[in-house]
C-alpha cells in the first residue's frame, strides 16, 4: 500500500451525505485513492451503523462491519439537514469541496438543501453526484426503492436463480446490496470524469444516477432476447449449455462448467473417459444443457470422490473452468488472495485488527491505502467545523445543544 503524501488524489475534497451503501461506497472508492472525504451524518448516524454485522452480535454504532468497510478513510460530522442551521453547515462544507456524493431521495432534496439545480447555481464549480433508485426525473422519480425491490425493478431478480425447475418459488435476490454498490461505483466513475472536465474547463455540474438503469444495463444478453427475438426472460427453463451446475464433493460443493467443446474433451479425459460421455444425449454443449439432469447424475458420482479445492486445481490445470462454491472462510484462507495481498488490515478502535476486502484493482502508480479507521459518529466535528470552517466553539456547542450538530 502506498503512502498518503504521494497521492495526487489528496487534492480532491469530497463531501458525502445520505445514508446506506450507495453514496458511502462511491465516496470510499475515491477516498481509498487518497481523497479527503467528510461524511455528513444525520443526528442518529448513518443507518449502516445499526445494520451490523457486529462483533459478538452486540449492536454498537461504532462497530458495524459494513459501516467500517464503507467508511474507513473518512471523517465524520453530524448535521441535521432538516433544519436550516444544519443546511448552513452543509453549504459551508460545500463551498470548499470539489465533489458531493449523496443518495438523498429526489423528493427530499429541496428540503435538505440538496436540490441539484440550486446547488449548481450556488456552487458553479462543484460536482454533484446524486444517486437514487429511479433517477430524479420520470414518473417513478419519487418512488421508494430498497435493494430487493430494485433488483426486481431492474429485471435481475426475475432471471434468478436461472434454469429453475420450481415455478412456485419466487424470483431470487442475489446476496448483499448489489444494486446499491452499483449505484455507488457508477457515481464514483462519472464523478471523476466530471472532475477531469472541470480541470479542463473550470465548470462543475450535477449528475443524476439511477440505480435501476445501472443494473438494467448489466443483464447480459437477456434484454435483447426481447428486442431482437421477442422472447421474454424467465428464471425457469433450462441452461443454454452444459455442464453448468452446482454439485456435491467429498467435503463441499463445486460449480461444474465447460463452455467450449475443447474444455469438455479435457474434462472427459479427467473423468477417465467414461463410456456414457459418448452418448448422443451429450454430443454437444447445447445437448448437454438440455440433458443436464442426466449429465449431473452421471458426473455426480465422480465429483463426489474429490475434495473441492483439489478438484478445482486439477480441473483448472487442464483449463476446465470449474470453481469452488467458496465459503467466507475459504476466502479468508485463500493462498491466492494472500499472495496477492488482497486483504487490508485496519486497526479499528474498540475492535482491534480487522481484515477487510482490499484494493479491487491493482494500480501501478496511484497509491491505494486504508489510512485511518472508520470514524465514530461526529468524531471530527470540532476539527472540521471549528478548525477548518472557522466556526466558533461556542456556536458549535449551541448547535449541539439544539441537536443540529
Amino acid at each position: 500500500m502506498g503512502s498518503q503524501s504521494a497521492s495526487p488524489f489528496g487534492a480532491i475534497k469530497i463531501v458525502e451525505c445520505g445514508e446506506g451503501i450507495s453514496a458511502a461506497f462511491g465516496a470510499k472508492m475515491i477516498a481509498d485513492l487518497g481523497a479527503e472525504v467528510i461524511k455528513v451524518e444525520p443526528p442518529g448516524g448513518d443507518l449502516t451503523r445499526r445494520r451490523g454485522p457486529f462483533p459478538d452480535d452486540k449492536a454498537d454504532l461504532d462497530k458495524s462491519g459494513i459501516f467500517i468497510y464503507l467508511n474507513a478513510n473518512k471523517r465524520s460530522v453530524v448535521a441535521d439537514l432538516k433544519r436550516p442551521e444544519g443546511r448552513e453547515l452543509l453549504h459551508k462544507l460545500l463551498a470548499g469541496a470539489d465533489i458531493l456524493i449523496h443518495n438523498v431521495a429526489p423528493g427530499d432534496r429541496a428540503a435538505q438543501g440538496l436540490d441539484s439545480a440550486a446547488l449548481r447555481a450556488a456552487f458553479p464549480k462543484l460536482i454533484i453526484a446524486a444517486i437514487s433508485p429511479f433517477g430524479e426525473t420520470g414518473p417513478y422519480a419519487n418512488w421508494r426503492g430498497y435493494e430487493l425491490t430494485l433488483s426486481n425493478a431492474a429485471g435481475w431478480a426475475t432471471l434468478s436463480p436461472g434454469a429453475s425447475p420450481y415455478p412456485e418459488l419466487p424470483p431470487l435476490k442475489c446476496f448483499g446490496s448489489q444494486c446499491e454498490f452499483q449505484g455507488g461505483i457508477h457515481a464514483a466513475m462519472v464523478a471523476l470524469a466530471a472532475y477531469m472536465h472541470r480541470l479542463k474547463t473550470g465548470q462543475g455540474q450535477s449528475i443524476d444516477i439511477s440505480e435501476q438503469e445501472a443494473v438494467a444495463a448489466m443483464l447480459e444478453m437477456n434484454f435483447m432476447h426481447w428486442t431482437y427475438a421477442h422472447r421474454e426472460t424467465s428464471r425457469l427453463g433450462s441452461r443454454l449449455l452444459g455442464p453448468w451446475f452446482i454439485s456435491d464433493t467429498a467435503d463441499g460443493k463445486i460449480f461444474a462448467l465447460a463452455v467450449e467443446e475443447d474444455q469438455w474433451k479435457r474434462l472427459v479425459e479427467l473423468m477417465g473417459n467414461p463410456e456414457w460421455a459418448n452418448d448422443e444425449l451429450f454430443k454437444d454443449r447445447i445437448a448437454r444443457g438440455q440433458n443436464q439432469d442426466a449429465l449431473k447424475a452421471l458426473m455426480g458420482e465422480w465429483l463426489s470422490r474429490w475434495k473441492t479445492q483439489e478438484l478445482y486445481r486439477e480441473a483448472q490445470n487442464k483449463r476446465v473452468p470449474f470453481a469452488p462454491i467458496n465459503t467466507m472462510r475459504d476466502l479468508y484462507e485463500s493462498d491466492h488472495l494472500a499472495e496477492r495481498q488482497f486483504f487490508a488490515t485496519l486497526e479499528q478502535s474498540g475492535i482491534g485488527a480487522v481484515k477487510l476486502p482490499g484494493m479491487p484493482s491493482k494500480y501501478g502508480a496511484t497509491p491505494w491505502a486504508l489510512r485511518r479507521p472508520a470514524p465514530k459518529l461526529g468524531e471530527h466535528a470540532e476539527e472540521v467545523f471549528c478548525g477548518e470552517l472557522g466556526i466558533a466553539r461556542e456556536r458549535l456547542n449551541d448547535l449541539r445543544k439544539a441537536g443540529v450538530a
Binding site: 462483533p55 435476490k173 431482437y228 477487510l356
Partner: protein, 406 residues
C-alpha cells in the same frame, strides 16, 4: 466533437467477451473514441456468435449481445497472430491514451504488447488488464468466466432460498462488475495523469472485484467466525421483505420491502387492514422479523389476487417500496424508463433500429449520449489506419490480402 468529459481520449480496445467491452463502453459513453480490435483469424468474440440474433437469423453483426455492449465504438480488423499486425498495433498505441485487454494473464506480454513495451512507445500510456484471477498468484493461469467467479467469490454460497442449497444468481454478474470497476480504475488513472502527467498499468482480477461486493458476508466471518447463511429474499432486519405472488402466470410477482414503522403502518392501511399494525405478533420490527412466516402468508393472501402493478402503485402512493419483478419485455415497455430516454434506438446497417439499454446517468453540463450503434466487424479498419497512421489504400490492401487485416 462534442465537449464531453472524455473528448480527445482514445482507447485501443483488445477486450472480448463481456467484462472488457462493458468497461470500454463506459468510456465511449463519456466521449472517448474507442477502437476495438477484432479478427476472424481466431474463434469470433463469443458475443458475436451466441443468441439472440436479430429475428433469429445468425450473423456476426446481428447478435444482440455484441450490439448492446459495443455501442459507440469503432472496429478494426487486426490478426494478432501476425507480426505485421503487432507492428500496426504498436503504431496505433502511439496515438492512444488507454489500452485495455481482458485476455488470460500474460497474453499481452506474449503477443509483444505488454505494458513494458507499450510505455516505450508512449511514455504516459494507461493500460488495464482485466483477467479472471489477476496477473500474479498461484491461480493467475486459471480460466475465468462470470459464473465461476460468482462461485469463487461466495455469491453462490450466500444466495439461495431460505434453508436451501446454494443458488445461482441469474446473470453472469461478475463480468459487468469487473467492467465497471475497470472503468472506474481507468477514470482514476486518467485523473492521475491529468494531475501529474504520469501513466500507469492496472492489474485487475475479476475475482477480487467481485469480493469488493461481499463485505456483509465476509465481515460476518471476520468478526464472528460464522458463515452468513442463505435467507432467500429475506433481510436480517426488515420484514415484510419478499417477492410475493401476484395475479397471473408463474412470471407475475411483486416485491415488497418494509423499513420503518411508518412504512409498516402504511402497508397495513393499503391492505385494508389497519388493525394489523398493532397485532401483538407484528407490533415492532423485531416481532415482525420473528413472525415473518405468518406475515408473509398474510401479505401473499392480499397480493395473489391483485395485479402486480395495482399493488405496486397502491403501495408506492402510500410510501412503501414495492415493484413488480420485471422481465425484459416489461423493461422495454416501461413508461418511466422510456420517459427518461434511457433506451437507445439507432439505425444499425444490418439489424435496423433495435432497442438497447442506454446510459444510466445524466450529466447537466456534458450531456452524454450513445453516438453510434455497435460497429460492423472491421468497419473502421481503413478509416482508422488512414487517419491515424497515414497509410495509403495500397498499403492497406496489401496487408488485407496478406492476412494481417482480417
Amino acid at each position: 466533437m462534442a465537449n464531453l468529459p472524455l473528448s480527445g481520449v482514445r482507447v485501443l480496445d483488445f477486450t472480448w467477451a463481456w467484462a472488457g467491452p462493458f468497461c470500454t463502453m463506459q468510456l465511449a459513453h463519456l466521449g472517448a473514441e474507442v477502437i476495438r480490435v477484432e479478427t476472424t483469424a481466431r474463434p469470433a468474440c463469443v458475443t458475436r456468435v451466441i443468441p439472440p440474433f436479430a429475428d433469429d437469423v445468425p450473423g456476426p453483426n446481428r447478435a444482440g449481445y455484441f450490439n448492446q455492449y459495443n455501442q459507440g465504438k469503432k472496429s478494426i480488423s487486426l490478426n494478432l497472430t501476425r507480426p505485421e499486425a503487432i507492428d500496426v498495433a504498436c503504431r496505433l498505441v502511439k496515438h492512444c491514451d488507454v489500452v485495455a485487454d481482458n485476455f488470460a494473464a500474460g497474453v499481452m506480454d506474449k503477443l509483444g504488447l505488454g505494458y513494458a513495451k507499450l510505455r516505450t512507445i508512449k511514455h504516459d500510456i494507461i493500460m488495464i488488464s482485466m483477467s479472471g484471477y489477476g496477473q500474479t498468484g498461484p491461480f493467475k493461469g486459471f480460466v475465468g468466466y462470470g459464473p465461476p467467479a460468482s462461485a469463487a467469490s461466495g455469491m453462490f454460497f450466500t444466495t439461495g432460498y431460505e434453508g436451501g442449497e446454494p443458488g445461482e444468481i441469474g446473470v453472469s454478474y461478475p463480468d459487468p462488475n469487473a467492467g465497471i470497476f475497470g472503468a472506474f480504475a481507468l477514470m482514476a488513472a486518467l485523473t492521475h495523469r491529468a494531475l501529474t502527467g504520469e501513466g500507469q498499468y492496472i492489474d485487475q482480477s475479476q475475482f477480487e472485484t467481485a469480493l469488493a461486493l461481499m463485505p456483509e458476508g465476509m465481515l460476518e466471518y471476520e468478526l464472528n467466525h460464522r458463515e452468513p447463511g442463505r435467507h432467500g429474499n429475506h433481510d436480517p432486519v426488515m420484514a415484510p421483505h419478499e417477492c410475493y405472488k401476484a395475479a397471473g402466470d408463474d412470471e407475475k410477482w411483486v416485491s415488497i420491502a418494509v423499513g420503518g414503522e411508518d412504512e409498516w403502518r402504511a402497508l397495513c392501511r393499503a391492505m385494508g387492514n389497519p388493525g394489523l399494525a398493532d397485532d401483538p405478533r407484528f407490533k415492532t420490527a423485531a416481532l415482525r422479523k420473528r413472525h415473518e412466516a405468518a406475515l408473509d402468508e398474510i401479505v401473499t393472501a392480499w397480493t395473489r389476487t391483485r395485479d402486480r402493478w395495482e399493488t405496486t402503485k397502491a403501495l408506492q402512493a402510500a410510501g412503501v417500496a414495492a415493484f413488480p419483478s420485471m422481465s425484459n419485455k416489461d423493461l422495454a415497455e416501461d413508461p418511466h424508463l422510456n420517459a427518461r430516454g434511457y433506451f437507445t434506438m439507432l439505425e444499425h446497417p444490418e439489424v435496423g433500429k433495435r432497442q438497447h439499454a442506454g446510459i444510466p446517468w445524466k450529466m447537466s453540463g456534458t450531456p452524454c449520449e450513445v453516438r453510434s450503434p455497435a460497429p460492423l466487424r472491421g468497419a473502421d479498419t481503413e478509416a482508422v489506419l488512414k487517419s491515424l497512421l497515414g497509410m495509403t489504400l495500397d498499403q492497406i490492401e496489401h496487408l488485407r490480402k496478406s492476412g494481417v487485416l482480417i
